[in-house]
Point group: C2
Chain length 309, copies 2
């Protein structure tokens, strides 16, 4: 195990993850918390960061590379978007410098697609692709989430991307809509559930009818006391199926996709992509990817000598 080289942080709307790395990218220590943007803004971003560094015994002078919503307008310092298409190593080199008396801190920029009809933004997820691009990976990647992304990587650059509000729609419908009573108490969705699969297949076959398929969850509860587990699995399947249908509509025929996911969504998307007939030759853990991408960015931005493990 090497000695501490630098620190990387993925700081999002609702979570904070920090890793202390050696020069090879090996993890020497880590911290996680639910200190998202709102909580951190109240406490002070620098105070939050320094408290986690202190907890790991990391002193002044150690550089920090960050990504995520911490670089948004409502974050610590705004890291302006770069325009797509953009090389991922350029992203690393053009981080925004955060004033600090104690250490060098950079926030990676997000990427903007300034299409007047289909404007889009990505901030955080693109870092997951940095390590991939470095390894010469090309093609389409699917990154599930609150605002899931489909990103076309070409020659080390983000050529194009498309965001879908899938995760947010799931939460809104589950918690705030007329469907809530039909979904209440539903168990976490089982990817092998026939209700999940049927939802995926139905949304792929009739994506325009989503507004009706959603209401049918309520009707099924009213008329047939359909259990919440089944309704929740179907809701998840419908929304993921709709996303895949939308990705095909926006990006044209898709043969294969790299899946970059963590937690329960990985298995759900693996299953849904299989139902849609999309090959998934590579599946990567999203959290590993963001850590490796931040490490890659730190090597570039802080001009650290690259050392193989």
């Amino acid at each position: 195990m090497g000695t501490l080289s630098h620190v990387v942080v993925d700081w999002g709307t609702s979570s904070f993850r920090l890793w202390a790395l050696d020069r090879t990218g090996h993890v020497l220590g880590e911290r996680r918390s639910a200190q998202g943007l709102a909580a951190s803004a109240a406490e002070g971003f620098e105070a939050v960061l320094e408290s986690h560094l202190a907890a790991l015994g990391i002193g002044d002078g150690v550089s920090v590379m960050m990504c995520g919503m911490v670089g948004s307008r409502s974050g610590w310092v705004e890291a302006a978007y770069l325009d797509a298409p953009v090389r991922l190593d350029e992203l690393a080199a053009r981080g925004t410098h955060v004033p600090s008396a104690r250490r060098l801190i950079h926030i990676l920029p997000g990427i903007a697609q300034r299409d007047p009809i289909h404007p889009d933004v990505i901030r955080g997820e693109e870092t997951q692709l940095l390590a991939l691009a470095r390894r010469g990976h090309d093609g389409l990647a699917c990154l599930p989430g609150t605002h899931g992304k489909w990103v076309q990587l070409t020659d080390g650059a983000v050529a194009r991307f498309v965001t879908f509000m899938t995760g947010e729609l799931f939460q809104l419908l589950r918690e705030r809509s007329v469907l809530a009573p039909a979904l209440q108490g539903g168990a976490p969705v089982d990817p092998s559930s026939p209700d999940f699969s049927a939802g995926v297949a139905d949304a792929l076959a009739a994506p325009a009818s989503i507004g009706n398929a959603l209401f049918a969850l309520r009707a099924g509860w009213l008329l047939a006391d359909r259990p919440a587990d089944a309704a929740l699995a179907r809701l998840s399947g419908l929304l993921i199926g709709l996303e895949i249908a939308g990705a095909r509509e926006r990006l044209g025929a898709i043969a294969a996709v790299t899946l970059i996911a963590s937690g329960p969504s990985a298995a759900l998307y693996r299953q849904a992509l299989a139902i849609a007939g999309l090959a998934v030759p590579d599946e990567l853990d999203a959290e590993d990817c963001v850590r490796r991408g931040l490490h890659e960015a730190a090597l570039i931005a802080f001009r650290l000598e690259r050392v193989s493990r």
Copy 2:
């Protein structure tokens, strides 16, 4: 002007509308309030109804015909669904009797579609079709709303219907989603706005991509400070366009549709249906239709002699 014959009430989730009618259906008096289900359950349904009758000076013995969510599980008395296909005059004859010492009170049943894949329910809107069916009207009707309905009328019967959560999605996205800041303060949607029209056209052309089109409203605000009026008009257009695309997916080719709407949604749907190339040979006011339908139901259920105006 005739003498008081009966009273009709449309009692929904969030509103109460009552009309005192003569034998021809002419309006002798009316009451409106925001006493929806929750408020009325707390105060007592009978107390709410009687207070409005008293305010119009209507004594004991006058019969009342009601429709809407007042007949749901969480209403006054549950009026069980009849199964589609069902004749609309049968609906009138099979109202649920509400116990009252002071008058005869009926609540009209809703209609259930017990399709295991696409279950659906309607409760209240079907009453708008009763007067139409009585006049021998056939064909497809579009009834915009929180849960908008497309209803196929054949030989005086509701043959089939499809519900879309359009209005509810609009409210959820406007108030509760990440789009809220981009929409905040937006003026009521102008049906002639190019943003509305473009939203309709884009959703018709690429309905599966709705999850991306929605996120683009946020991206347009972040990247180009797109004004809230434009974003709100586009959101409305996207969701109505999606509904029309879904109606086509569920019902097959549609040449013409009767539009039954009230208030601002009438003009929005008229415009959207035109963009989609659907003829609208008849447009009716939803509130007129529900009153006339309730009158028709009262004539049937209370065996009142039909008198022409």
